[in-house]
Point group: C2
Chain length 714, copies 2
């Protein structure tokens, strides 16, 4: 299978799953003669679906299993099994994995449960399984997984009962096929069943269970490289492994394959339920969310939306500049669609004026702007529908179209005319995403789908699904994320104090508020001259903690004369109020006023590594949790996009009569901070640069305080 078909893989990254997903032969350890038992279902399914490779049941108690010759043990198998299902309990499973490895098996699919999902002993047993598999160079799926299927090969090493209700279906001509990658077996097969009921082809399903060795990233990566799959649907309760997951998403993006993902646990209650269900260390949900966004993955809010987006991806049209045109026999439905489109940011530009005039001449009371209301007049002359639709495509140029015809789509008298009119336009413009919103029985829907339409009863659902296709197009069109040049970083052994933290960050490209220390009056004058007036002057003394209490802070120092006078006052105040303190000089700093306060930060996600954060100071972070996150490093353009995504961004953009702030400078600091975090590596636990004072455009953004925390040494 390495040379073509569903199992063929281009590129190298994820090809090591080939023996697991598309093997030449497969052994079933613990095969049962009863086709409804866990060890019986895979054998039964592969017999029924005609798996062409070797299918070798292992059962010490029987000569035959479901009519196939059975083998008493692994040693007596007629050849080296490329893959094996392990469906025997506890210690026997461990023994089987070991023996399979010794015989040269390349992949094991472990159904057996009772591992890390149960208790500490299970964790230890699971670790033993993994180290055995690794020792033998085998890939291992599960344990505690439902298995997988690769339908075109008739390969069904899976114990679901879903096939009672039907097998995976073939795609309509020209439509894409969907690969399903799911941590949960129950949910993965639910998705397969729901997709099948909607006529969506899902040739491959792989469930990962405990993900002891093969993770969701491996599976998505396999699907990204599998020529038998054009669209990827995934389910996760928590991503456990970063690098392969990221590589897989990038592989899918490069291959132009949309990934639609259900990641549960976004709420506190859900996250709690997820933890008690999987007992796994997973990346923070919000961080996972921004990682998915980074790669253009559509994160679905529920199963229906996941299937809708997958379904709308099957025509494999991903318009980079997506616009929506709507033709409707109900003005109200047009309004509803407009509401949904605006909320999703899917543009609905109006029809050109001259085209509107032509259409208005055809149907006098029509409203051919966009949404185009062609009114019930079309029932008298269905050729109007064709004329309107053609004008929308050819004059309006929309990449996505929704035609709302509700029950007319099922009307015995009107539907055939409607279909003929639309098909004539569609035939000339197959490069558009055509949606019909009709109320029709399933057999009529299947006809429209065979014609090439997407069919949605609810037009609002169509809008969500169409908007997603444009975002896929944009993600596919993006250049791969370029590596940033990383600064040289050498962190100190112990956590640096504020001044040292600022120096470290300054060296990395995050400028602090300009300041200098001065040991004498003339040094202070020179420093102030270099920094620019007005300045703040502060006593420098290791013995004085609260400078303002001893009169050790002078604000609004406007010129050189004032520097001199204030230098003397500071020394006098120190002598008067803290006679025993050692005074080493003064700190001269730029006095900044009228700045917008912003916080920048770095945290380290358990799975995805350093994450950059930006938020506006004050109520925005503390009360409104208005922050933008992104995996490090971020380049300056990405940093600016993060800043612009803040709800409070108008404050930086001239709201409330302020001048526009120096967003470019802030973006440079954020990007530099993110590069610093990557360069610093795992020794860095977090950075908090708060506040950064952002001055008006062209005047810069300066860190006024900074805290760097180092990781506890392991």
């Amino acid at each position: 299978m390495a040379d073509g078909g569903v199992g063929s893989v281009t590129g190298a990254g994820f090809a090591s799953l080939r023996p697991m997903v598309a093997p030449r032969n497969v052994a079933v350890i613990g095969a049962s003669d009863d086709p409804t038992r866990i060890g019986g279902r895979p054998v039964h399914n592969m017999i029924r679906r005609g798996f062409a490779g070797g299918l070798w049941p292992v059962n010490p108690k029987r000569d035959q299993v479901q009519g196939l010759r059975a083998y008493p043990d692994i040693a007596s198998l007629p050849g080296v099994p490329e893959a094996a299902v392990v469906a025997v309990p506890g210690a026997l499973a461990e023994q089987a994995v070991d023996e399979l490895g010794r015989r040269g098996c390349r992949a094991v699919i472990v159904f057996t449960a009772g591992y890390a999902e149960v208790d500490e002993a299970g964790v230890a047993a699971q670790e033993r399984l993994v180290s055995m598999a690794r020792g033998h160079g085998m890939r291992l799926l599960g344990p505690n997984c439902l298995g997988l299927f690769n339908a075109p090969l008739g390969y069904f090493p899976i114990f679901t009962s879903s096939f009672d209700n039907g097998w995976p279906v073939e795609p309509l001509a020209g439509r894409g096929r969907v690969g399903i990658a799911s941590q949960s077996g129950a949910y993965g097969t639910h998705l397969f069943g729901a997709a099948r009921n909607r006529g969506i082809a899902t040739p491959v399903l792989i469930t990962t269970g405990n993900e002891a060795e093969v993770t969701l990233g491996d599976v998505i990566g396999w699907l990204a490289e599998d020529d038998g799959v054009e669209i990827i649907a995934a389910y996760s309760e928590g991503v456990r492994e970063g690098p392969r997951f990221l590589a897989a998403l990038e592989a899918a993006r490069r291959a132009g394959k949309p990934v639609v993902m259900m990641k549960v646990g976004r709420s506190a209650l859900g996250a709690h339920a997820a933890r008690s269900h999987t007992a796994s260390i997973a990346g923070d949900d919000a961080v996972t969310g921004v990682v998915l966004e980074e790669f253009g993955v559509h994160r679905a809010r529920n199963t229906e939306e996941l299937l809708d987006v997958v379904y709308a991806a099957t025509p494999r049209l991903y318009p980079v500049r997506n616009t929506l045109g709507v033709v409707s026999i109900s003005g109200g439905a047009g309004v509803m669609i407009s509401d949904a489109a605006e909320e999703l940011g899917l543009p609905m530009p109006p029809m050109p004026e001259d085209a509107q005039a032509r259409l208005r001449a055809l149907i006098p009371f029509s409203n051919p702007s966009n949404p185009v209301d062609c009114t019930a007049q079309v029932f008298n002359d269905m050729s109007m529908v064709g004329a309107f639709a053609r004008s929308m495509v050819e004059d309006g140029g929309y990449s996505s179209l929704i035609a709302f015809f509700t029950q007319v789509g099922a009307s015995p008298t009107l539907a055939p005319k409607l279909r003929a009119e639309l098909n004539a336009v569609r035939a000339d413009h197959p490069d558009r995403l055509w949606c019909l919103s009709v109320l029709a029985p399933p057999e009529r829907v299947r006809e429209y789908e065979a014609d090439g339409y997407l069919v949605f009863e609810d037009p609002s659902r169509a809008v969500v699904a169409l908007a997603a296709q444009g975002r896929f197009g944009q993600a596919f069109a993006r250049a791969p994320r370029a590596g940033l040049e990383l600064p040289e970083v050498s962190l100190p052994a112990a956590a640096p104090d504020e001044a040292e933290a600022k120096r470290i960050l300054a060296a990395a490209g995050v400028p602090p508020v300009p300041e200098a220390t001065a040991a004498s009056m003339e040094e202070a004058v020179a420093a102030a001259r270099a920094i620019g007036f007005p300045v703040v002057m502060k006593l420098l003394s290791p013995d004085i903690l609260h400078k303002s209490e001893v009169g050790g802070v002078m604000l609004d120092v406007a010129d050189e004369t004032a520097v001199r006078a204030n230098y003397e006052r500071l020394m006098w105040n120190a002598a008067e109020n803290a006679p025993d303190a050692r005074v080493t000089g003064v700190l001269v700093a730029r006095q900044i006023s009228g700045a917008v306060e912003v916080a920048l930060g770095i945290t380290r996600d358990a799975v995805f590594g350093p994450v950059a954060m930006v938020g506006l100071g004050g109520v925005f972070i503390e009360v409104l949790r208005d922050v933008a996150l992104r995996r490090c490093p971020v380049d300056v353009a990405e940093a600016e996009a993060m800043i612009r995504s803040l709800r409070g961004f108008p404050l930086l953009d001239g709201a409330r009569g302020r001048p526009r702030a120096d967003v470019a400078a802030l973006a440079r600091s954020l990007s530099a901070l993110s590069a610093f975090a990557v360069a610093a590596g795992e020794a860095l636990a977090s950075v908090d640069v708060n506040p950064v004072l952002v001055l008006p455009e062209g005047q810069g953004a300066f860190a006024a305080d900074a805290v760097i925390e180092l990781a506890a040494r392991g």
Copy 2:
């Protein structure tokens, strides 16, 4: 029909629609022999559905219409028609309405289009129709409407082609019936068709078209009082008439009938499309939204959600304290449901500890908290499902339950056992909302529905629908809104200045910052003593606009001695800097610091009258548009709920180390302001009290500025 059945109406408010919706006989003006023509469809449908009353086609050219005796004109009808359909064009329609009125007809349903939706001449023609109808004491539906149906009577004065795909269905035993009130005919019949396809009974549909006389409020009110309908689904592009709409929603609430509404035009694009579609003056969308909320109406985001909520209302169980219990064979589905429930505020309390222990003893690896994951173990012993479900009802006490069994619900071997187990528990507890989330073909779904379950393929949709039922319960349980005692208000002839505005509002119960004018030093001292220190002192002069420029503002005046000294300084500054100004004394005001700034306001909605607004000052209103609105008047408890609903509320509640603010005082001011707005009547255009300075708890909230705008005199 007034004496029983679908047409019977209790109460008086909306009974005047009886002759239109449930007449003893009906004339069809412009009746056609062709059953597919606009004038033919009503006759055809009523013949087919056996309308028992008189059905009198009027057609000057034929003796018979579709086998019925036809009459040449209105004068020759065999009796006075209670209702009449008008399906003749333009001037003929006007003439028909007039003649019908003269004969004593009580209700006309005008299909004819070309009125206010078209041009100015149409507006005038529509006004003539209405004044004719009013003159004759007739109710008028439309013009430009699709008509209505009242299926139990076989009464179908409507020209839709929807019945090609099926008639309204009967409800399952015990399930509620749905009345549809829709401005749009196309959307109303779309809703009917989609409901029918889901097995939902919709005995009554009324479309209002141009709403020249009968409005959506009339129709909702009729349905609220109609014994043949227990649930109301409504569609509007913009509510045009306030009082009857409000009375209708209150009638529905009192009758315990949920109203589920699609109100389109929530986005700017949608609102624009709605305006160009209906050309009507309608209330602001946001105001309409809060009015719907006030009466417990569920505003659906799309058609699917509307139908889901209506469907889940059919068991007519509206738990006031709604809690959700989830039993699942997929841990992941449980997490997904938890995410959705938390976002919708539907509580999922855990099972009691002892019950969890009992369940864990039944299935060792189960996780019986809530969601309750009973694992695939139940496939070996389906009695476990019964045991788990019973414990959830009896020990967990949940009012709503979701059982996620995906394809098991369709499995030939497992589904019958599952059904029997659940039915046994359900039979003992029919007072719970039971949802099955299964992947099953329609015929299997119908079986579960007949058993009493709600069935949703997607469990997230079930959560939305279940959460809505609890909110209905809460709305039904609320005491009717009590009238507030209104203040005596006499507005001045011209817009008042700030001081007068504050005096007017103070008299109405909105206290301003304490202040007093003083004409002498000793008056100033007495005023300061009464107000409490520290105070601010300001020069009072009609000739000085910018007081601070002449040294006319003194802050932080701490005691009586300081009052005297500052009084002298103010007088000296005036003499020095503004020698020609007339000085009438000083203003002494409480100096307030550490307050949270809040804005209160009143605007007048074109449809719903005065609307109260509250928002936090600064970025919250200007950048984040974080405001709460409510129709006036609001009592103190409602006012406090508005304040607590603000995203920025934590700032009033002790965030960022502040003391808690005097929310009670702020709520009193907001309530008083709303009562003032009602009392002031239409002469009042708007009020802006900004800022209100809210001090720490127990110290009050004071208006620091106020603007009152009067309505332009008509």
